[in-house]
């Protein structure tokens, strides 16, 4: 296939005894969003560092934009842009100067450099703060500036390493919009994230990484079919009522210690009403009630048999 933006096979990386990547194969089609989903410590950043030539893998081959990362490093670097986990902006320069610096380093000629900088400031809504030092920017603005700096070189493939970690919901939604625009412009996006929702909303293809291994791959829909839906959690005032409810709702899982009952369900209004009406019918008092949509933890539990928190602790 010639339209692969990234083709990696058999990637391995270990630090002393600790295996970080244990034979990873990745295929990313050009012009799509590929999301690498996994908890902290799964090996996401290591994967990005290998694919972006910052780190040498112990084994495996990678072609990025058609070039081999080991023997054609320069060509790879010319084709990619990377926005890391922490906004790599120069705090003591203004937003405009940060972009200028990138334009200068890309050897864009004076007027062209100016045009590119101006365009990016407008596009990312940074015009007003262009002459303020980046140190004064909010988290969301810093990420925007970081991404704008990455775009100065007009890369074909952009690597976004946890672009929304630590951002407030509004800034997160803004980043999602930007990613969609970039793909619409024909770029390929390689995105890592800890959030299932993010991968679900943005990605054409998702790969789930756990302890250096890919445990699942597919479209968001394919992946979601493999995992149980959400659930409703009910809390009862005492053990007797918990037991009664557990008898009534046969497919539920009681937790005697916390007096809670986990009832599988999609969280839709209709099914919730049915559930509550049944409890009412049998006069079982519910103290607390919450709806849980599937999150990364559910995916992990379903795919690996352990939770992402456990994976984290290892």
């Amino acid at each position: 296939m010639t339209n692969l933006a990234i083709a990696a096979s058999g990637l391995r990386k270990a630090y002393q005894e600790k295996i970080v990547l244990d034979g990873i194969d990745l295929n990313v089609r050009a012009g799509t969003v590929f999301s690498l989903l996994g908890p902290n410590g799964a090996g996401k950043t290591t994967t990005v560092n290998v694919l972006t030539t910052l780190l040498k893998a112990d084994a495996g081959t990678v072609r990025v934009a058609g070039y081999d990362i080991a023997s054609e490093t320069k060509a790879v670097r010319a084709a990619i842009g990377v926005t890391g986990q922490f906004a790599a902006v120069d705090d003591l320069l203004t937003g405009e100067e940060n972009l200028r610096l990138m334009a200068d380093l890309q050897h864009l000629r004076g007027s062209e450099g100016k045009r590119v900088v101006e365009h990016l400031l407008n596009r990312f809504d940074l015009k007003e703060s262009a002459r303020k030092m980046a140190a004064t920017y909010s988290g969301g603005m810093r990420r925007k500036l970081d991404l704008a700096m990455t775009l100065v070189g007009r890369p074909q493939i952009i690597f976004l390493d946890e672009p929304t970690t630590g951002l407030d919901p509004r800034s997160r939604r803004m980043m999602w919009d930007i990613v969609r625009e970039l793909v619409a412009d024909g770029m390929t996006i390689f995105l890592t994230t800890q959030y299932l929702e993010e991968a679900d909303r943005l990605a054409d293809q998702i790969a789930v990484l756990d302890q250096g291994k890919l445990v699942a791959e597919g479209t968001p829909d394919e992946l979601k079919r493999q995992i149980p839906g959400g659930h409703v959690r009910l809390r009862f005032p005492d053990a007797a009522r918990l037991a009664a409810a557990a008898r009534l709702l046969t497919n539920s899982t009681p937790d005697d210690e916390n007096l809670t009952l986990r009832v599988p369900g999609d969280g839709g209004v209709k099914s919730l009403r049915t559930l509550l009406e049944r409890l009412d019918e049998y006069a079982i008092d519910v103290e607390e009630f919450s709806v849980h949509t599937p999150d990364l933890d559910d995916v992990f539990l379903a795919l690996t048999g352990h939770s992402s928190v456990e994976a984290n602790a290892q």
């Binding site: 922490f86 790599a88 610096l101 990138m102 050897h107």
Partner: protein
């Protein structure tokens, strides 16, 4: 858009960036000037009369104070390099294929220029305090040459330490030995007046020949032996610092 990197242009771009930093964050420069001046005032006016070194104490102490100035100026370099590294800015440059020589040379050159400004200020203050060297123009050139060579050498070492440090705090701390070493040299008092152990250390550590070489130039009696030793130390430190910094910069896991 050219894909061939132009190290010289890139180095100039980096240098401009570092100068902007100095202007935006002048505390670094003030630290490098103010602290040595305070030290000089303390040593010359408070302790000076208690040391008998055979000449006016200000004339004895100035070369050592200049060495301390070099040391104080370095923590700014170490923290700047470290923050580039830990904040991912160096990774950004690496992915853009900016040559390591451009990034690191930018830091070395700005260190040398910033320290030169501090050194000039300290020499000015020394003159105000009665510093009266018997150096000719050629001797001055020799002294300036030794000073700049020293900054260049320890500058490379500092950059390597800044790249190697895991945190900003440890990067700043890494330069403390360079600040302390002049105290254990002939900067404040002659080595032969020190106790056993300290004396041997002072005699064989790099700052002593460097300071003695400076003293020779300022007194108008250059010492070939000390000057050669000083240059040899500087070249050695520069080579070690450069190789270490290069290895740290190029490290790919």
């Amino acid at each position: 858009m050219s894909t061939t990197s132009a190290p010289l242009t890139d180095a100039a771009i980096m240098l401009r960036r570092n100068f902007k930093h100095t202007v935006r964050y002048p505390v670094a420069l003030f630290n490098a000037i103010l602290l040595p001046i305070v030290m000089m005032l303390i040593f010359v006016y408070v302790f000076g009369d208690a040391f008998s070194v055979g000449v006016d104490y200000i004339d004895y102490a100035t070369p050592g104070m200049l060495m301390m100035t070099v040391g104080y100026g370095l923590s700014a370099t170490a923290t700047a390099v470290n923050s580039d590294m830990t904040k991912g800015i160096i990774n950004r440059f690496k992915v853009m294929d900016v040559s390591r020589s451009a990034v690191l040379t930018g830091h070395v050159v700005s260190t040398v220029v910033r320290t030169a400004v501090a050194l000039a200020a300290i020499i000015g203050v020394a003159f105000l305090m009665g510093f009266s060297p018997s150096a000719t123009f050629a001797h001055w050139l020799g002294a300036i040459g030794i000073l700049l060579l020293t900054v260049f050498a320890v500058g490379w070492l500092t950059i390597a330490m800044g790249l190697a440090a895991k945190t900003l705090e440890s990067a700043g701390f890494a330069t403390v030995p360079l600040i302390m070493l002049p105290f254990l040299s002939s900067a404040i008092v002659p080595a032969e007046k020190m106790g056993p152990g300290a004396r041997e250390f002072a005699e064989y550590q790099p700052f002593t020949p460097i300071i003695e070489a400076l003293r020779g130039f300022f007194n108008g009696t250059p010492s070939t032996g000390h000057t050669i030793a000083a240059i040899a130390w500087c070249v050695g430190i520069a080579v070690v610092g450069y190789l270490w910094a290069r290895a740290k910069f190029n490290k790919r896991g």
